[in-house]
Amino acid sequence: MIPLVYWLVFSSLLFCIGAYGVLTKRNAIVVLMCIEIMLNAANINLVAFSSYHSSLHPALGADLSGQAFTLFSIAIAAAEVAVGLAIILSVYRRYKTIDVDQINILRW
């Protein structure tokens, strides 16, 4: 199977792509999508390390706790997206823009 290092490098690249998007993009929906990419990078890490742990200790059998936690994480991400999109919709109705540079009312 694919070695652990490949998964880790892939997830770190995914995380950095998400971080770049969060830092540079101004559209709030794109920022939300980039946050989801970063969350997915963390999910890949969870699954990879869980599978690696099972490979390290074959006598214990397949331990899929990491995969189960990833399912929870995906569900939490779905809840976050539901609320985030609703907030973006609400902000658009009020300010007629979703440019995060212009929505600066919370800035101190």
């Binding site: 490098v9 995380f15 490979s55 390290l56 907030i87």
Partner: protein, 83 residues
């Protein structure tokens, strides 16, 4: 400011290099990973358990409740206000 995107891109590339180099320099006890059979079945057993006292059934229930609350919150936030 024109140099700001370049600076951000550079900092992200530096972060990626730092993470990847630290991953590659670490020594992992085993190189390869084994392949497992019946992963879906095992995942089901892990989630809901084989006996009453095992598994994450209660957490699955609460996650479902959380999703429902988030859905209702999203609808409440997104609905149009009546004048």
């Amino acid at each position: 400011m024109r140099w700001q995107p370049v600076l951000k891109a550079l900092s992200v590339v530096l972060l990626a290099l730092l993470i990847i180099l630290s991953i590659l320099s670490a020594s992992w006890p085993e190189e390869d990973m084994d392949e497992f059979d019946n992963t879906s079945e095992e995942l089901g057993r892990t989630l809901f358990g084989t006996t009453d006292a095992t598994g994450y059934g209660l957490i699955v229930f609460f996650i479902g409740l959380l999703l429902l609350v988030a859905l209702l919150g999203g609808i409440f936030l997104a609905k149009e206000e009546r004048e």
